[in-house]
């Protein structure tokens, strides 16, 4: 049983406290809103309250004249109003409620607010479309001119495997179902913030920002200012959570702060209020699913056909990537011979949808795993058995005909369902009568392609520098978002180089100091992105050993025999032949001869020698992604280097008189390949479960004709400590060595199957299916949305 605990490493694969934990506990860690600069101004945005409108006129004179106001800018006052990514820095064509029509810099909060209130805007209201149905109608209002039917064509993907018509002919039972998911807010506790400072001498613009991906943010600033990228520097501050949300939103406010800083020659700080954050930051894509699935009486699925449509909102830069992933996973973790799915996004005059932990998987799994339960019920086969028959195994072909190996999904399923007594409980709960509080148990499976796959280029770079005293600095373009990246990377560097964890400093992502390694997304950092950290560390180790030999730290004569040792006394050194680098190792900061370990020197002493001898003590390495080829029309091909697998089982108690769903216990099993840090891994899973609970039962941003009904935490509800379920975690490892030390993605897998398991549990408890997420009070009681 490949449970965590059987692998042997020095620095990784165990608990280590976070290296950035203490500063956060002391309250001294610097988040972007904590920063202050002399003569700093505060920046703010004026937003449209219409979902679709043209700005006929905008009068900023009164605002400009106000005491303490240093700049007021509209779309025509800036070099480039439209960003490189379809979003608008400032617009005169409003496409959603929240679109920015002017920006202001002023000395105090009060002056800023007053200035914003003095800007007079005349709007011509235009028609608008809010739902996918409205947007797809003939002659519907075009959200963007160059997308004539509002279909986001770049986000359309098809999967065509085998022949579904034949597959359905072979089926004994066919069912068709529709599912729908809701808008969800990231709700990181830290609202977006940034501080832009222009260097008075050469105009270099530095922005300190709560940026999930600093290089992505930099692109916006350089684009808005129309300057070369080298003249922009983004320094990531300690970031208060992101989950995919601090990408476009931070890019946009950083660009705006930079524009104001340039216009005023003063530092400008922008801190979003929570309400603004709700209005401007991207939401989880709502999805509509239409699935048809057929199976033989004996349980084998013969065909699956699906249409997956998501609401992209007014602007978009993610649906085209996200839908690619969705299409690859559109048939779930099952070996189905015939697959035909179509995935596409639609523009509407709503808040835009974007990256959010899972990147389509929580929505897809919500639909697919209920579909599987429904089909199993029709076939009268136990859902566990049904999944074991059909799930991916070693040698199976996925929906894109990729052969997968090192698959331990069936072991995970068996372990978890046994552990929780799933089958006997499910049957017992089906027979509850005369009960007001009904119990239910539900399961959901997940598989997830690690990293970007063929969606994007999954390459990364890392820099590792040894200092003269043996301490080490590492840096990567990938960023600490709270997930523990700094600690994991330090552990990986420690493992690769052979020095202690305490001797390593991870410098935060600063675009001047390291290279663009792509975005910190897709749960790619530890699994794939850290590969270059490992190789750089290992290369540095070899380099330092080479240095040690060349510097006669292990002195040899012409026959490469060790003559004497400088650092420590030893017995007899006669006759010890030093052949090459492979004779030496470094562990825990000690450089030693493998065969004769008493011949050693400290890494620190080695570094001193290297410094004074002018030896190279640093490595920059780059690991390029595996080339993945996929057919554009059928989606067939190898789409990901490897996959992680998971099984989640949720137990609920449903009050059938009020519709209240109490999530009582969740058991979450994940194949993480190799655990890098056990307490960080558990932390991701605990957090993922509670986030999944929110998605399944509580959270929804209701968008009504473009207006948000929820824009703060008084009515956008997340689980509190009292609401969380009892949580059990099983960490599995395997021999797949694709990722860094075999690590697989975990950040997103940790949450993606939870809501689906809850939905299946609710169905078990009540006998009614909630096919439209979330399972809130009214939906559970009435079986439909209240309004």
């Amino acid at each position: 049983m490949p449970l965590y605990g059987h692998k042997k490493y020095n620095s990784i694969n165990k608990h280590e406290p976070r290296i950035d934990g203490l500063a956060k506990a002391m309250g001294t860690a610097n988040y972007a809103a904590d920063l202050s600069y002399p003569h700093m101004l505060l920046g703010g945005m004026l937003r449209s309250n219409f979902p679709s409108a043209r700005v006929i006129s905008i009068n900023i004179e009164k605002a400009k004249k106000l005491d303490g106001v240093h700049s007021v800018l509209t779309a025509k006052d800036i070099p480039k109003a439209k960003s490189w990514s379809n979003y608008m820095y400032i617009t005169d064509q409003v496409r959603y409620v929240g679109d920015v029509v002017a920006i202001v810099a002023a000395e105090t909060k009060e002056m800023l607010e007053e200035a914003l209130s003095l800007i007079e805007v005349e709007y011509e209201e235009l028609p608008a479309v809010f739902t996918v149905e409205e947007a797809l109608k003939d002659n519907a209002h075009k959200v963007h001119e160059h997308y004539p039917n509002n279909i986001f064509t770049e986000s359309e993907y098809n999967i065509l495997k085998g022949d579904v018509n034949k597959g359905f002919e072979d089926a004994d039972i066919i069912i068709e179902r529709e599912y729908e998911t809701q808008y969800v807010e990231h709700s990181y506790i830290e609202p977006e913030a940034c501080l832009a400072v222009q260097d008075a001498n050469d105009g270099e613009m530095t922005v300190y920002a709560s940026a999930q991906s600093p290089f992505f943010t930099r692109r916006y600033i350089a684009d808005a200012l129309q300057v070369p990228v080298k003249d922009v520097r983004v320094v990531q501050q300690t970031i208060g959570g992101t989950f995919g949300g601090k990408e476009e939103a931070i890019g946009l406010i950083s660009a705006r702060a930079a524009l104001l800083a340039k216009a005023t020659n003063r530092p400008v700080k922008i801190v979003m209020s929570r309400k603004e954050s709700f209005y401007e930051s991207a939401k989880r894509h709502p999805f509509k699913f239409n699935y048809k699935i057929g199976a033989k009486k004996s349980g084998e699925i013969t065909a699956i056909q699906g249409e997956l449509i998501c609401n992209s909102g007014a602007y978009n830069n993610q649906t085209q990537f996200m839908n690619w992933r969705a299409s690859v996973h559109s048939a779930g973790p099952y070996a189905i011979p015939n697959v035909k799915t179509k995935t596409f996004g639609v523009f509407t005059n709503n808040i835009h949808s974007g990256a959010f932990r899972g990147y389509s998987s929580p929505q897809l799994i919500f639909a697919q795993e209920q579909l599987m339960d429904e089909l199993a019920d029709e076939l009268e086969i136990d859902p566990v058995e049904f999944r074991l028959i059909n799930c991916l195994k070693n040698g199976s072909l996925t929906a894109t005909s990729q052969e997968v190996n090192n698959v331990i999904l069936d072991e995970i399923i068996k372990y978890t369902t046994n552990q929780t007594n799933y089958s006997s409980k499910r049957n017992e709960y089906k027979l509850q009568e005369n009960k007001i509080i009904k119990k239910g148990i539900g399961m959901a499976l997940a598989y997830r392609g690690c990293g970007f796959g063929a969606e994007s280029v999954d390459s990364s770079g890392a820099l590792i520098i040894a200092n003269e005293d043996g301490s080490v600095m590492i840096s990567s373009g990938l960023a600490e978002n709270g997930q523990g990246l700094k600690t994991a990377f330090a552990q990986i560097a420690s493992e690769g180089l052979g020095v202690s964890l305490e001797s390593i400093r991870f410098h935060g992502a600063d675009t001047h100091l390291t290279t663009d390694s792509g975005m910190t997304v897709a749960s790619r950092s530890t699994a794939i992105g850290a590969k270059s950290m490992r190789t750089a560390a290992e290369k540095l180790k070899r380099l330092m050993i080479k240095n040690a030999i060349e510097l006669s730290v292990f002195p040899t004569d012409s026959t490469n025999t060790i003559k004497e040792l400088r650092a420590t006394p030893h017995g007899s050194s006669k006759g010890i032949t030093l052949a090459d680098i492979d004779d030496i190792d470094i562990i825990n900061g000690i450089v030693f001869h493998k065969k004769y370990p008493h011949i050693k020197v400290s890494f620190a002493d080695l570094c001193v020698s290297c410094l004074w001898a002018g030896k190279q003590m640093a490595i920059y390495d780059w690991v390029e992604a595996e080339k993945l080829i996929q057919d554009h029309h059928t989606g067939q091909g190898k789409t990901f280097p490897n996959y992680s697998y998971g099984c989640v089982i949720a137990e609920v108690e449903v009050d059938i008189e009020t519709g209240y769903v109490d999530v009582v216990e969740v058991t979450s099993s994940h194949d993480v390949g190799t655990v890098i840090n056990s307490s960080l891994a558990r932390g991701q899973i605990y957090g993922g479960i509670v986030m999944g609970q929110g998605f399944g039962v509580l959270e929804e941003v209701e968008v009504n004709k473009g207006q948000l009904r929820q824009h703060n935490f008084d009515n956008y509800l997340m689980p509190t400590s009292v609401d969380r379920p009892k949580m059990n975690i099983n960490l599995f490892e395997c021999d797949d060595d694709t990722g860094t030390y075999g690590a697989k993605s975990l950040g997103e897998p940790a949450t993606e199957a939870v809501a689906a398991a809850i939905a299946n549990a609710v169905a078990n408890a009540t006998g009614n299916r909630i096919r439209h997420n979330p399972a809130d009070l009214e939906k559970v009681l009435l079986g439909r949305k209240l309004r």
Binding site: H15, P17, R18, D20, G21, L22, A23, K24, A25, M26, G27, T28, A29, N30, Y31, A33, D34, S36, H186, S187, Y188, I189, E190, P191, T238, I239, G240, G241, T242, F243, S273, R274, N481, G482, Q483, G484, S679, L680, R682, G683, I685, Y686, G687, G688, I689, V690, M691, N712, F713, D714, M718, T720, S721, V722, R724, M727
Partner: protein
């Protein structure tokens, strides 16, 4: 608009300053006094990131009027370290048990923890959950935070 002369005890020190009459306690702490450990997450008292302790009771500083603090005893995250500046046992426990991920909610949680353990040194798990029910964490799922609080309680007893 007349500023108010406010005299109160802050982190053990008698503090006197002029504050705007409508300033919230969090504004005075962060902007006037540079104590940025207390965080603003929502401004309406729902997330608890701004938790501080006033006269031994936790409050949300984002919906507490600064001027009302006259004569009161206010403690922030900056005020619980030891006299030498070493971390409080609670702070150490949070680090050790991985009760911290992005860290933004952490000062608020730690203040709720301090107020709890000062009043009730041997809380049950349920009492812990209730004590932190006004603090929202989006990253940790609360589990390792509760473990940290239990560890802190154990250590403080000694």
């Amino acid at each position: 608009m007349n500023k108010i002369q406010l005299k109160f005890t802050l982190n053990g020190k008698l503090t006197s300053l002029l504050v705007k009459p409508y300033a919230r306690l969090i504004d005075v702490l962060r902007d006037d006094l540079g104590l940025t450990g207390t965080k603003e997450g929502c401004a309406i008292g729902e997330c608890g990131a701004c938790t501080v302790i006033v006269n031994n009771l936790t409050v949300n500083s984002c919906h507490t009027l600064a001027a009302q603090m006259e004569g009161k005893d206010v403690v922030t995250i900056e005020g619980i370290a030891t006299a030498k500046g070493d971390p409080h046992i609670i702070q150490e426990a949070y680090v050790e048990k991985n009760g911290i991920q992005c860290g933004f909610c952490t000062p608020g949680f730690i203040m709720s923890t301090k107020a709890l353990l000062d009043k009730n040194p041997t809380p049950t798990r349920k009492e812990i959950d209730i004590a932190i029910s006004g603090n929202i964490c989006r990253c940790t799922g609360y589990e390792q935070i509760v473990e940290a609080i239990e560890l802190a309680a154990e250590r403080l007893k000694k």
